[in-house]
Amino acid sequence: MLTLKVNGTEQQVDVPEDMPLLWVLRDVIGLTGTKFGCGIAQCGACTVHVDGVPARSCVMASRDAAGKGVTTIEAVDTTKVGKRLKAAWLELQVPQCGYCQSGQIMAAAALLAARPNPSDRDIDAAMSGNICRCGTYQRIRAAIKRVAQPQAHAREGG
């Protein structure tokens, strides 16, 4: 039995310790906002935050998430950055099919938490792990820039 803390709520789950967090979230807890795209950490659709750090839940064993704070797309707007990202995503009508967008938003939220005013290169580096087959990248970039804070400085060591 594992105890996971997901979006602020403790969940006791009876799953094998090596079961990837993705399947615990989707098939056991029932949070389907985090998506399955590849299973080998190539596409980013499964991106969640573990203690604020973006993680590929499709290759993260649940035992490695135990005792940590897991945040999924369903709770991304509990932060100000998350709220503003969601608003920007809607203002710019970013998604097409939408399947990759949970992972995109989670990656973008982590980027902006570490670098409130990312450059294009910062955006490239942080977001190139997230594939979009529909080709919404230029809108994702524009939405991130809309949320960026030009006056802010990057966190020390961020």
Binding site: G37, P95, Y137
Partner: protein, 732 residues
């Protein structure tokens, strides 16, 4: 364990259930999107007369309830192209309701009632949605409006000319009296449905031509949107499948004893060419598959390799084909030409690889079958359920979902049939999810095309003859054999080649049907026939340009006397791209002109090619004339995305076979352009009052040739076979 209640728990109270969902999901400021259909357990929703008591439903596209709620029924699959917004806009415009007053429901399966006017059955594809829906849906909305006004006129006993409809109400101008559509529903339902109703003038459009927030976007941004893969049901099991890895092979024997020891594995289900493991969750299902001891019968060609397939195509390319177009005498004109160019062009097998891998959920009970799936062919999906279960049609319920990308994959029902076969073996609902490897290796592929093309030029470099032989699989022969022409001519295989957009004299086009070895099934891929034909035509035209030592835009202009709209987009793209400005060494600019799906598009790509031959697309400028536009931002988005989709495939992608096995398997070896490689796509829309043209696939069609022509401009090297990375210009 969380789940959403099945929407059909109480069939007789479906109105109540619907209201409950409305309350639960209404998005602030926008219409509510229901991501799954409400099944009719006792009847199929169809034309007027099937509405529940107190509902006004003059046609299959709208219902108004006594409570004033307006349901708009969309018969297409939302694959990201925005149809769950554009279709409601078309109806709402004429019905005189706001998008904030409507709920959107997926239509039930019905190939007759919901036949696409262009495709003639219920199908989302070939960029027909807005083209086919433009008149039909506005008419449906206008009928509703006219009848609701008439109901008010009869209620008030006033002159019809004094009443008008606005935002869900009928207003009597002289007195200011108003009646909401809900209050009029009962009366309107008693009136005869008129056939001819006036439609608005374009100048009076309030909604069409604007870009309101797409109704499906809030759910796609907060994680609540339910794709087929997200279905949750009481007692649901998850299954995954291992298909025979050798093309054409089948299952010989499976020993499931180790798999059955794994905690969470529920059942192992052998099929003809695959084995499924049904389990408590996807992880146990995958562990179960890994623990199977499977012996495959490798079938008729276990050593199949690409060279065998290409050799068959090359042999076929030397046969005469079915004539698709013949003007003048191409052979004679070619013989008399000052210069002659011959080429062989090749387009590879391509996978669809939508972000949402193939999946389908099925529950088979003795007297009822339910299917939960995103399908581009709802009627066929439903029929698959009928065929496999043997149940009568009204006992098979299809719940259609939004699709996490399709690109043509969900035009086929192979995976639905497979899920039904698995579900028949168990007593519980089962969600069958393919891994990405299975999704890519057991996809139905865009065919490999092998074309021979020749042109003759006069002394001034103008074309005097053009002969094009297209060789490859006929997708239409499997998908819709009634669409084949005389002598088996596949209209899709020759589309945009017979004839091309240009005025070409002595034009001769043939098609030779050559199917790949058994075990490879071909299918429609975004842009369908035009995607491979326009790569060939637009690249080859550029070869004529080079032979004539002329400018690619000017040369094309001279061949477009009959096509002012094509000229206009070519000129607009050239202007916006700065065509003609010199570029630094290692950079090149290429153009492609497309006339497809009743739309005109010109794409100009800028590339940088490194000394090692690495190609980077820096920017694409695109001018589009797609006639009247419903939602301009969606058109831009579809072009932006469609171009990237075409570029990705042209740069990187192919499905290859060695030792009878597909060599690609996941996004590490079937690549997609990533954020740091993707060019900015700059889209310019031409204002037009022409009838709407298709746009979902149009950007994709021009991408590969714009790229290849840009690479030629940068390097002097012509690419005649895709993908670029395998055939890239290497340093001399």
């Amino acid at each position: 364990m969380g789940h959403v209640p099945a929407p059909d728990d109480h069939a007789s109270a479906h109105a109540l259930t619907r209201r409950g969902f409305l309350a639960a999901g209404a998005a602030a400021g926008g219409g509510l999107l229901l991501s799954f259909g409400l099944p009719r357990l006792t009847r199929r929703a169809d034309a007027a007369g099937s509405a529940a008591a107190g509902e006004f439903a003059p046609n299959a596209f709208l219902r108004v309830g006594r409570d004033g709620r307006v349901a708009l029924i969309v018969d297409k699959c939302e694959v990201g192209q925005g149809v769950y917004t554009s279709f409601p806009m078309l109806i709402a415009e004429e019905l005189e309701v706001g998008l904030d007053q409507v709920t959107v429901e997926p239509a039930p399966p019905d190939d007759k009632v919901y036949a696409d006017p262009i495709l003639h059955f219920q199908c989302t594809g070939n960029s027909t949605s807005v083209r086919g829906g433009w008149d039909r849906l506005r008419h449906a909305g206008a009928v509703g409006r006219v009848m609701l006004i008439d109901a008010a006129v009869q209620t008030w006993q006033v002159d019809p000319a004094t009443c008008r409809a606005e935002h869900g109400e009928v207003i009597h101008e002289p007195t200011g009296r108003r009646l909401g559509y809900g209050a009029l529903a009962d009366k309107a339902a008693t009136l005869p449905v008129p056939q001819n109703v006036p439609l608005k003038d374009r100048k009076d459009f309030k909604l069409i031509g604007t870009s309101p927030l797409r109704l499906d976007l809030p759910g796609k941004v907060d994680g609540s949107a339910q794709f087929g893969i997200d279905v949750k049901l009481p007692g649901l099991k998850i299954a995954t499948v291992a298909h025979c890895p050798v093309i054409g092979g089948k299952l010989a024997h499976v020993d499931a004893s180790r798999a059955q020891q794994i905690k969470g594995v529920y059942r192992v289900v052998p099929l003809d060419t695959a084995v499924a493991v049904v389990a408590d969750h996807m992880w146990s299902a995958m562990q179960g598959v890994a623990a199977l001891d499977i012996e495959w019968d490798e079938g008729p060609h276990p050593n199949l390799a690409m060279r065998d397939i290409v050799r068959q195509l090359d042999d076929a390319s030397q046969r005469t084909g079915v004539v698709a177009h013949s003007d003048g005498d191409a052979a004679k004109a070619m013989a008399g030409a000052a210069k002659r160019i011959d080429a062989i062009y090749q387009d590879p097998f391509l996978a669809h690889a939508p972000m949402e891998p193939v999946n389908c959920t099925v529950h088979v009970r003795p007297d009822l079958c339910e299917i939960w799936v995103a399908s581009q062919v709802q009627g066929r999906a439903h029929q698959t359920g009928v065929d496999i279960t043997g149940l009568p049609p009204e006992k098979v319920i299809l719940h259609n979902y939004i699709s996490g990308g399709a690109f043509g994959r969900r035009l086929d029902t192979d995976f639905i049939g497979e899920a039904l076969m698995i579900a028949k073996q168990v007593d519980v609902p089962v969600k069958v999810v393919w891994t990405r490897e299975e999704d890519i290796q057991h996809d139905l592929y865009r065919p490999y095309y092998y074309d021979r093309i020749s042109a003759g030029l006069d002394a001034q470099g103008r074309p005097v003859a053009w002969s094009h032989r297209i060789v490859g699989s006929s997708v239409m022969a499997r998908f819709a054999p009634s669409a084949l022409g005389k002598d088996g001519l596949d209209p899709d295989a020759i589309e945009c080649a017979a004839p091309p957009v240009y005025d070409l004299p002595n034009l001769h086009v043939e098609y030779v049907r050559q199917e790949p070895p058994t075990g490879i099934t071909t299918a429609f891929w975004r842009g369908v026939g035009p995607t491979h034909n326009v790569f060939v035509v637009e690249s080859f035209i550029d070869e004529l340009v080079a032979a004539a030592k002329q400018d690619p835009v000017a040369y094309r202009r001279a061949l477009l006397d009959e096509s002012p709209r094509a000229l206009a987009v070519l000129d607009l793209a050239a202007e916006k791209a700065g065509w003609g400005q010199p570029l630094p060494a290692g950079r090149g600019r290429g153009v492609a002109l497309v006339y497809v799906f009743d739309s005109y598009l010109a794409e100009i790509a800028d590339v940088a090619v490194s000394p090692e031959g690495e190609v980077r697309v820096e920017r694409v400028v695109c001018a589009v004339d797609c006639g009247a536009i419903v939602h301009p931002d969606t058109v831009k988005a579809q072009i932006e995305g469609g171009i990237l989709f075409g570029l990705t495939a042209a740069l990187f992608d192919e499905i290859t076979i060695e030792n009878g096995r597909v060599q690609q398997g996941n996004f590490n070896d079937y690549r997609t352009l990533r954020m740091d490689e993707a060019p900015f796509v700059d889209v310019y829309l031409v204002d037009s009052t022409e009838a709407p043209g298709g746009i979902g696939e149009t950007g994709t069609v021009g991408a590969a040739p714009a790229l290849a022509n840009a690479i030629f401009a940068a390097t002097g090297k012509r690419i005649r076979a895709l993908p670029v990375w395998r055939n890239r210009p290497r340093p001399a």
